[in-house]
Point group: C2
Chain length 383, copies 2
């Protein structure tokens, strides 16, 4: 949804008539530091039209942590292009980058409006009701779980267990969303593991066994870094395989480990799926609510800038009332940068094996139209 | 698409006015042998309506190899229900099962019309131009590759390599279909490995390196059982992890192995996705052409039965001419049961690293509507 928000920024900026140019940074702040910018108003018409159907970041992404001299260097390039507004789309790390640029501008008395636009499928930003990007990834996982669940049910006599490993390093918002795929009692997912609740392998295996006994099959959804009771990633007590420049750690697959344990310890054939980047890119499962809000958040950043705001991020604020609606608001970038919103206690079942009804009420409006229902046999109509 | 063909069978049978009842076997032949049947005409209206939007097999699937006495036992149950037609939906193994039932009926002078309906996303059945189920899985993989490719391009500065492991145990039809996601030269997929072409790890790594140098990122699509130059599954020379009752072998992941090798040997960060069951269930990416043909093949089985055919499978025959169209025909079940159609030489590039243009021409009409195009920056419009 980076691209959908980007389209909102471009359209709002051009429509306002207040800007001579709209420039895009290639690969985020790295592009700014290298003065590697594109003129977004000079792109072919197809570029803007297709942005909303193109996943990921058409301008390229980065994982670059600012060095001490970088904010000054960024201001130099911005000054050279006579930029009055700096809009940055992303999650905590992007908010941190934007906040440092804003602070440097204040120190240098450079009149620059710095605005953040939230985007992360992880949904782990504070202040905002939810993040653009999350609703579409949540819809993808709800559909995937419903449909892979139907397949696991059909194959239950030979392959009764399915493990689906999803994104979300330290927060279980995505894993929890898989529960929106459940139509009836006994449907997938049967066990949902979230990093907020470390669990011993024995506890997880017992839950799989119990779901299998009750339903004849079991679908488990877990996060890519799901911790065991010691806090180590399941099956990876030897430590991470890789740590990126922001200090985020990547591990071998806890899902593949769990599948092997289910086979060896429970004697049940377990298959393993890892949708990976499909979660953030599969536009055929995008949420209409998410797409609309993503564009609106991009537009709101332009409006905030024109209204004299700076060093803030656009946020979504949910209105009270029977029908779902979110307004846009703003929160300090510094707050967004330094806090991570994990699943609150009230959104997790007491046994830690799935999200609560309160979570489902929170997340359901975000995924857009109701999901297609499964054909179900009437078991009483035996021949 | 089992369900879509099933819907075609039910509708054609009811519309013909020639049948008193339409019975469904739960979990295929296992349900017949156990006399575990349902009355499909007595199901709620929602069942038939929702079949076409429900993936996998609403009646349940099986992997049961007939024992010597089973065909006789099957005939007993069919006689008890006064069945005149036996329709079985599936791939080679299902054709084998249906053929044995047909042979037993002939021997017993039981006037039973036995028809097969092809369904396998693997597309590995002989005689038929293609199999229902393949077009939708092919569309899913083409979309997935295009969109994950866009994401890998965006993230190329930190995570330039992506490995996507797809289904297809011994035939590369699904892996090859990922190439339909390529819009322009340099797009994903850059390397497509098919089991028809065993390749040494060194050859594969050289191809990844070369694609990375040319495009700045590399997306590799490979089959779940991709063999190395010795014929062993890549990274699994120790043998299979599991062999099912039909003798099909399952291995640890060659994709995860390749991702690790790319990191260690080429020094490029490689991510690994395994869409798994999403390939056969993600109805939001279904091909309209595939859905229509799947229902038509189900209907054709009923028509063949009423026309006095037996021991045959419905096949699709592609008409010559500028516009894509397939008629239905029939082929002996015995031929379908005992032959597997792998990718022909003409559908593989001489270097073995991807499908040929002839394959793309063959597969393109099967995936339905053109795929959404990606937004692309004009690189000359630098600011």
């Amino acid at each position: 949804m980076v691209n959908t928000s980007l389209a909102g920024v471009i359209r709002a900026a051009l429509e306002s008539g207040r800007f001579r140019r709209v420039l895009g940074m290639l690969h985020g702040i790295e592009g700014l530091l290298a003065d590697d910018l594109v003129d977004l108003a000079a792109q072919p018409a197809s570029f803007l039209e297709r942005l909303a159907q193109t996943p990921s970041a058409a301008l390229g992404s980065c994982r670059y942590k600012l060095q001490p001299d970088d904010p000054e260097r960024a201001l130099e390039v911005l000054r050279r292009h006579e930029a009055g507004v700096f809009i940055y789309i992303g999650g905590n790390d992007s908010a941190d980058t934007a906040h440092r640029v804003a602070r440097a501008a204040r120190t240098a008395s450079y009149d620059l409006a710095v605005l953040g636009v939230p985007k992360t499928i992880d949904n782990d930003l504070p202040e905002t009701d939810h993040c653009p990007g999350y609703g579409s990834a949540a819809r993808f996982l709800a559909l995937a779980t419903r449909w892979v669940g139907a397949d696991t049910r059909a194959m239950r006599r030979t392959d009764p267990v399915r493990i689906i490993e999803v994104m979300g390093r330290h927060a279980g918002w995505l894993a929890a969303a898989s529960a929106l795929g459940r139509e009836q009692e006994g449907d997938a997912p049967h066990v949902v593991l979230v990093p907020e609740r470390p669990l011993a392998l024995e506890t997880i295996l017992a839950a799989v066994q119990s779901a299998y006994r009750a339903s004849g099959f079991a679908v488990v959804v877990l996060c890519e870094n799901q911790p065991d009771e010691t806090g180590a990633v399941l099956g990876a007590r030897g430590g991470p395989r890789y740590v990126d420049p922001f200090g985020h750690a990547y591990y071998d697959s806890p899902g593949l480990y769990l599948a092997t344990q289910v086979q060896e310890r429970l004697g049940l054939r377990a298959r393993y799926d890892k949708p990976g980047a499909l979660q953030k890119t599969f536009m055929a499962a995008a949420s209409s609510v998410d797409l609309e809000e993503a564009e609106r958040c991009g537009r709101a950043a332009v409006e905030l800038a024109l209204g004299g705001h700076s060093d803030e991020m656009v946020i979504l604020l949910r209105d009270d009332g029977p029908h779902y609606h979110c307004r846009t608001g703003a929160a300090p970038l510094e707050v967004i940068a330094n806090r991570q919103k994990r699943l609150p206690e009230a959104f997790i079942r007491p046994d830690g094996l799935g999200p609560s009804a309160a979570f489902l009420d929170y997340a359901r409006p975000l995924i857009g139209e109701p999901l297609p229902l499964l054909a179900r046999l009437d078991p009483s109509a035996r021949a």
